[in-house]
Symmetry: C2
Subunit: 297 residues, 2 copies
């Protein structure tokens, strides 16, 4: 009798690649963390980890980006222009497929996290769910009717423009493309540059009040754009005590009761609408494993 199939997942980040092997129920059996160095070294190390598992059926990758997800595109599976040195134009799919001889599923890191939370976390049972991470950068992934959201490319919600009150916040913004887009105003990198210290070291209440204002704008713009049934907000910056509460309170005010739906008219329902990831740091890798399983769906 042959051994049951196993599924591989890679949370391919700009700092580290988290690799995992899971069984058909999604139970993680082994993990390895690989520092992100050059593409060749990193991918080779991942291949070495998965090679130990003979019954591997498929691998799923949730990748930092932007990444070309358009099946049929000549650069499908390539990371496109990224500030990460050495990685622009890297094909992350073909080398894995060639070395491991299994199907490779791919999506963005944030779509994978959204998928993970939708499948096994705070989005379970819902149709449309958004996952926002506020860390060094800001990204949003979404699952719509059970499928990650793609299109022209994939959502790049970190780059939406939101109101920027230059009197209250004269900082010009940190985005190399757009200056004061959402990421340029509210990411960990923006906080570091505005306040001269890392977000985790920052205790000025005004700094966190401003951060809640921007994240609340992000939550409401996401609500009005996508109408998700739940918004899951993760990432290092959001671990600051009090930030999620302040964000919900401010988002509730910004909504001004419109449209008339309980999440926007009932303060307690808002607490259930904007939530932290229930998988914690495991949303991305859980979604990556799910991407592997979907190679056979």
């Amino acid at each position: 009798m042959s051994a049951p199939p196993l599924y591989g997942g890679i949370e391919a980040g700009g700092t580290k690649w988290v690799c995992a092997i899971a069984d058909a129920d999604g139970k993680v059996l082994a993990t390895r963390v690989i520092p992100t160095t050059t593409p060749e070294t990193t991918i080779t190390a991942a291949v070495r980890f998965f090679r130990d598992h003979r019954t591997l059926a498929a691998v799923g990758v949730g990748s930092f980006g932007p990444v070309d997800l358009r099946t049929g595109s000549p650069t499908y599976g390539h990371i496109t222009a990224t500030p990460k040195p050495g990685w622009s134009g890297t094909d992350v799919v073909s080398p894995l497929r060639a070395a491991l001889r299994v199907p490779v599923g791919l999506d963005t890191d944030v779509n994978a996290a959204a998928l993970g939370e939708w499948r096994r976390g705070a989005g379970r049972g819902l149709g449309t769910v958004a996952y926002m991470t506020v860390g060094t950068g800001i990204g949003v992934g979404a699952v719509v009717n059970g499928r990650p959201l793609h299109g022209l490319l994939h959502p790049e919600f970190g780059h939406v423009r939101i109101p920027h009150d230059r009197t209250r916040d004269p900082f010009a913004g940190s985005c190399p493309f757009h200056g004061d887009c959402l990421e340029g105003l509210a990411s960990g990198e923006a906080m570091r540059r505005r306040w001269g210290q890392r977000a985790e070291d920052l205790d000025d209440p005004a700094a966190w009040e401003l951060e809640a204002e921007y994240v609340a704008h992000a939550v409401m713009n996401l609500t009005y754009a996508l109408s998700p049934e739940r918004i899951i907000v993760g990432g290092g910056v959001t671990r600051r005590a009090g930030l999620m509460g302040r964000t919900r309170a401010r988002a509730f005010d910004l909504a001004a009761g419109y449209p008339e739906i309980s999440a926007l008219t009932d303060r307690a329902a808002m607490d259930e609408y904007v939530v932290s990831p229930s998988l914690g740091d495991h949303a991305g890798i859980t979604g990556a494993v799910e991407l592997a399983m979907r190679c056979f769906a």
Copy 2:
């Protein structure tokens, strides 16, 4: 032999209801325009039109909103809080179903227009398409993987916040809920209140420059939020000569080449990305008929 089935569509607007009968190929055989008065009078007039057609198989409604689209909700098919006098809480689905004894499909007016353009117009053959109307108000509908986008309720993209430079534009905004949200700054109603005359009568180049700036912000926020493969922009305000061209040029600048995808890096590709409806004023009714057909999908 029985006659082939016919499908009814209603573009249920705040000013008028456009009713149509189409065959299974979507060819419109008859139409009637009913002024929107009280719910009872309007719905009764629509029923009378459809009753003439004995082989009616289903009716689809693209309705003004907000409207409750959550199947299973006790207020499914009801228009929720609307500024339209007499219409808050109106059930638009049950009376049609009871009188005509056929299934009734329902979506928002803008989701119906998006569906119409996706099925038979500028969105044909694409997976994810957004339709934005800039008229008295601003609304966005979207088709994602062939299905209209729903969730918490439905997109209310007119209410996203965009940058508002109060030095250049001291107008506080016309939205009764949010003041200077997108609709509050860029709708026909906002233009009328800011400039003291109706958009169609307005010839000040500065007014149209500002309008293009706001619509371009809408286009780019929609791009970064939803990543549609095409954005179709209709509505009375956008008929002004030159506005679409200025909007595309400004959106291209705002994108600043990010992400690296032809619509955002090649000015000619942007012209194919942001387009006028190819069904003109018929997008909504075409989508409403499609909603009727989908009752059997």
